[in-house]
Symmetry: C3
Subunit: 364 residues, 3 copies
């Protein structure tokens, strides 16, 4: 499990200093590092902590003096956060999913399992499903009829893949995610309360005759591009007629809800607990902070940033940064909020003005 | 798998025009439709797209001229969205759950499985549980002791049904939902920080002596009415003494959280990621938008609409439409928001007034 | 299953009055209680309901006259809510998990199962994992390699425990929770749109050159203290280098998301659907209302109360009660909100002042 400083530096495309043959077996914070650890000290503020721990080697930033820090070896990381990707990847041994097909797995004879795929205990794979080469499927996963899993995919325990869903190559899905549930699409025989409320912006509050909801079935599936990651217990619903689509390279955190018919672009970053209602279109490289949401049928342009907990109720043009409930341009939101913070004191000023000008107290 | 235009129109109670014996095998958007598809063109704006695709038949709205659109057959849908319910239902073949009981299922000898029920691979059914006739239970579902599943229910993969939970007829539950977890109900031996904060509206911030939380166990169960749908990874907790109840015909989306002791009425529509805290009572036909929430012990009247992301902190009378955080009547919320949008500019006006009247700048 | 009034009172450390040998087998609301139930009538308002039901015994509060209420026996509960913890605990028979190891469980030969542990059907336990004595593991749970489960823990169905996760003694985990998914930590090779937006507070909206995201792997695990409870479908991600930590006695509700590297203190109470972004530090006894959230890398002091749906965007000092989006001290939030409620009417006053002082209408 040991890696030399030289090897790690080479994997990072970074510079190795000092005893480049020194071997390390793990990463550690500077103050907790043992002699076999590579300490993460990419900021001058860690100098003291390094002396508290017993690291012999560390990753440092440009301009830091490894010898003065008492190190025997060091790796210079020009962009420390990016270096973490390479470092952690080099040292991650991955989940233990034994090679081959576990005898307890229940695999339909018509399913196709690619070469070198690993199928864990108690996995269920349905008729006509295909699992790509070198894909790893952890315990208790279900893959329904005619679903397709790409090469080198990693599907963690308890994930549910619905019928006809297509998962790209190198996709990673965390435990408990559900890809391909039915869309939440119901209709009443006559115009419903909520349709009336939307049409009149809330004016018509007259009670309606009681009606039941009828399901619009989801005949489409879900299409997940290559290099996508999907978080634990996230749910992505199938489309009504066309497929729900997640573009290549998009990363989705835990407990995200993506409604039916959504089309998410490439290289987006969707943080925890965000929700996209039905038929939302997201451009490429959209970043959404945790707990934010987008109302149904809206279009969000490329490179938009939606801050945490923002609630988007209208289309957003490419490149915008939006914030608030309802979400508006970030500087507009900040300006409104600053005014609101002043408002309680300004209310007193208005009272005084009213007295001075109208010779009477404000009566609202 | 083919259906004639005549058959489909009859299933919808709609009018068939032209070559009513023409067979179609699927639905498609007009521009993508092949010659075997029924195109969905319920708006005049789809006229051009129809010529791009190669549909021979389409569903159109009243007043559209099917012959001018180059179609051989057409179905007239007076309420297009409602027609989608019938169309998609007719063409949905449903999940592949083989008839009978899969040999890998672990079923307690005291459980009762109704006639023609289908039990998938690796399902676990506990002592005294009952599964209704023609119910379909997908792979990896667990049904705990003495739970009851109604006739014609469809329980998707990985759903967890707790002890003594009762599920009505024709209920559909999407993958990963948990029905009957323990309620989140904890109490400290002495009055806690949060009880003090509620009682004093935040005035008393004195630190408390450290205390631990003691669980109030959930002795009740969950009762789900007939024709209910429950979304993927939704959780519904059991009641403390009485049952948590979901009324007939209510539809619940993904990742919804319904706390212990809640009583949800009939034909409600609860969108994605909403949360009901403990002991909330919802009337009939309540509609809640995505990510909205209701605080504990509140009562929401019949036909209330709660807009997306609204946070309800007080009771809501029947028929109201509420919005915002905290949620208030929609027009009140809109009025407040409009005033807030103007506020940054109005602040300048107030400064000018203050200078003019008091001959001094505002000093806050 | 019967318990005498005397026994129950002794278990509660409470006073028994009247026929203390009377046996009851369950709890009930006063109006629904049968003769074998112990009615919950801890408030004088239940006097009428008691006569509608047929309870012979009840739990009442100090000062209520059990004989005038027509009871044969009563238990006096000085703090009724706390009494519920003892009452429900005494009458809860718990989930049916048969003793021993179910033959369908798939347990690696190198795993260690403690004495008197109960392992349910179709459980998967990986290499080197340890399950403590008397722990109960329900159906379909997966416990990955080298994970450790404490003594007397109760892990409900379908829970996923990741590699090297450590779970303390007496921990309860509700169905579908995922402990130890990979953290949501991605980085671009060059500075990304969102980093630029944070650095400039939204000023720089220039489009960036398209970039892909690289994963920072999670080499740490999750450490759950003793006496913790974790709700259904909650997710707790593993740390990057150090572990994500949940302190002893903390209670977590359903669908809570706790990001990588978070450190949650002891005896906290985290209600449904809250989210903690990465690297958040929570002190002891922090209480967070439903749907609230904390942005990444923030520190929340001991005894803080965060109200439902509040969005915390900055550090919070110990003992504070915060509310709103963004969250501020509760009284500040209430003051701002009251001013906002008055604002639409005050806008008219300002118009009048402007006309009176400047002899012209407001032109914004």
């Amino acid at each position: 499990m040991g890696h030399s400083i030289k090897e790690i530096a080479a994997a990072l495309g970074a510079e190795a200093l000092g005893a480049a043959d020194l071997e390390v077996s793990g990463l550690a914070e500077p103050g907790r590092a043992g002699p076999g650890d590579l300490a993460l000290a990419m900021s001058p503020k860690y100098a003291d902590a390094l002396t508290e721990g017993s690291a012999r080697a560390a990753v440092i930033s440009e301009g830091m003096d490894w010898q003065a820090l008492g190190l025997e070896a060091a790796i210079i990381a020009p962009r420390p956060r990016f270096a973490m990707a390479g470092l952690t990847s080099a040292l991650d041994s991955g989940p233990a999913i034994a090679a081959g097909i576990h005898p307890s797995a229940v695999i339909d004879p018509s399913a196709e399992i690619g070469p070198d795929a690993a199928i864990g205990p108690l996995v269920v794979i349905g008729p006509g499903a295909k699992v790509g080469s070198k894909a790893r499927i952890a315990a208790q996963v279900t893959i329904a009829e005619e679903a397709v899993i790409g090469a080198d995919a990693l599907i963690h325990s308890g994930v549910r893949i619905g019928a006809r869903v297509r998962i790209g190559d190198r996709v990673v899905i965390q435990p408990g995610a559900v890809i391909g549930g039915d869309g939440f699409s119901f209709v009443t025989e006559e115009v419903s309360t909520v349709e009336a409320a939307r049409a009149t912006l809330g004016k018509a509050e007259a009670p309606q005759a009681p009606q039941s909801w009828h399901r619009i079935h989801s005949l489409g599936a879900v299409e997940i591009g290559d290099d996508v990651e999907i978080g634990a217990n996230t749910t992505i619903d199938r489309g009504t007629v066309a497929n729900t689509v997640i573009g290549d390279g998009t990363k989705i955190d835990n407990q995200v809800h993506i409604g039916h018919n959504c089309r998410v672009g490439e290289d987006c970053l969707l943080c925890g607990q965000i929700g996209l209602a039905g038929s939302v279109v997201l451009g490429d490289r959209v970043v959404m902070g945790g707990q934010s949401g987008v109302s149904d049928n809206l279009t969000i342009g490329d490179d938009v940033v939606i801050t945490g907990a923002a609630v988007v109720l209208s289309n957003v043009a490419a490149g915008r940064i939006v914030m608030g409930y309802p979400a508006v341009k970030m500087d507009t939101n900040v300006e409104m909020y600053k005014a609101l913070r002043r408002l309680p004191r300004v209310m007193k000023t208005i009272d005084q003005l009213q007295k001075a000008v109208f010779k009477r107290p404000q009566n609202d």
